[in-house]
Subunit: 191 residues, 2 copies
DNA sequence: TTTTTAAAACTAATGGTATTAGTATATTAA
DNA sequence: TTAATATACTAATACCATTAGTTTTAAAAA
């Protein structure tokens, strides 16, 4: 045990995520976080390495949460069903935790290995789902990039208010997943 | 003519874009921009409405530039060829102007009509390209959302360093576009 | 040519932010 | 009861956006 309890790290991350979800990642300041935790800003430096460190911690926390959600949503499913639910859980997470999701996809530096690892876990989860499609290794990786682009692009554009038209978002999502699955199926049968 | 020339607005936007491209949008401060323009920060308030106004101006400028690039790249092309080049020019713009592109896709408020309009122009350009596919109106709009999600997601993940693996980005992009075209083709033939 | 005018530049000042240095405190372990 | 140490604190600095008020400058009017 520590000589003084201090702030719980998980509580710090959850509070930071709350602020980011409510007001946007840009509004997550050390001052605001400290205020909500009932502490002075400099005290936070005992737990995170400044604002940059807080962002990095949130990136990791967000990716871990995203991976967890996706993992649970595809448990017991396979094939198209798994693919569909992987996308749905991805988009659902981004929609329900916009600030944390934004933090999760902040640019990462090559030396941030722990973050890289969680990203790799997500890639491997998707690769696992794609096994039934019997793709070559490079094809599978291209497919994962396509899947991630689709889910991230949709989530990101939605949050940015770029889908302003009066047209169901859920229908669009179902449509695009189907286009992807059809494209992949056609690609496979052509070989 | 004005009673005093002052800073050229286009030059202001270009300089701001340069800074954003080089150091990231978050590093574009009024202080930095003023410094590069050889002027004091408060003077910028004669040209833009603070940092928020600068961001809004960059959003518009970025979207206009993106639309212009796409328009030129699909001139004289049609069908799959046009579709492919629309995606390629989109991703190319995002890659070569990361800061300006990031600004272009900042969240927009409903009252920013001029920005909305340019966004609509991009949507209409894509709808035009999709005419040969004879889609219903709602299908066409879902398709445009899919296209934009793919292009934005790919560009955004690329910039964020999420495509770390040693695998050709250009190959992934070509693969992704082909999956989309195949999926759309299959969707059409099924009706 | 001289005067007027208005936009654009400036200085000065304020408040908010991150960050660092150094000090006080509280809790565990000896 | 005391010593050690992680944590929180205050104080201070530097940078930033922003506002208010003043000065400058170039074009238009006289």
């Amino acid at each position: 045990m520590s000589p003084r309890p201090g702030i719980d790290r998980l509580q710090l991350l959850q509070t930071a995520a709350e602020l980011a979800d409510r007001d946007g990642l840009h509004a997550l300041t050390l001052a605001a976080l400290a205020g909500k935790l009932g502490v002075r800003s400099p005290s936070l430096y005992n737990h995170v390495d400044g604002l940059t460190g807080l962002h990095a911690a949130l990136t990791l926390y967000g990716l871990q949460t995203l991976h967890d959600r996706m993992l649970k949503s595809v448990a017991g499913r396979s094939g198209e069903d798994a693919l569909r639910h992987a996308c749905l859980s991805y988009v659902d997470f981004a929609r329900s935790h916009p600030g944390l999701y934004e933090a999760a996809l902040q640019p990462i530096r090559p030396d941030q290995q722990e973050i890289q690892q969680v990203g790799d876990q997500i890639v491997e989860l998707l690769l696992q789902i794609l096994v039934p499609y019997q793709l070559s290794q490079s094809e599978a990786l291209h497919t994962v990039r396509t899947l991630r682009s689709l889910c991230h692009g949709f989530s990101s554009l939605d949050r940015a208010g770029q889908f302003a038209l009066d047209l169901s978002l859920d229908d669009s999502l179902e449509f695009m997943i189907q286009i992807f699955i059809d494209g992949l199926t056609l690609h496979k049968t052509r070989q």
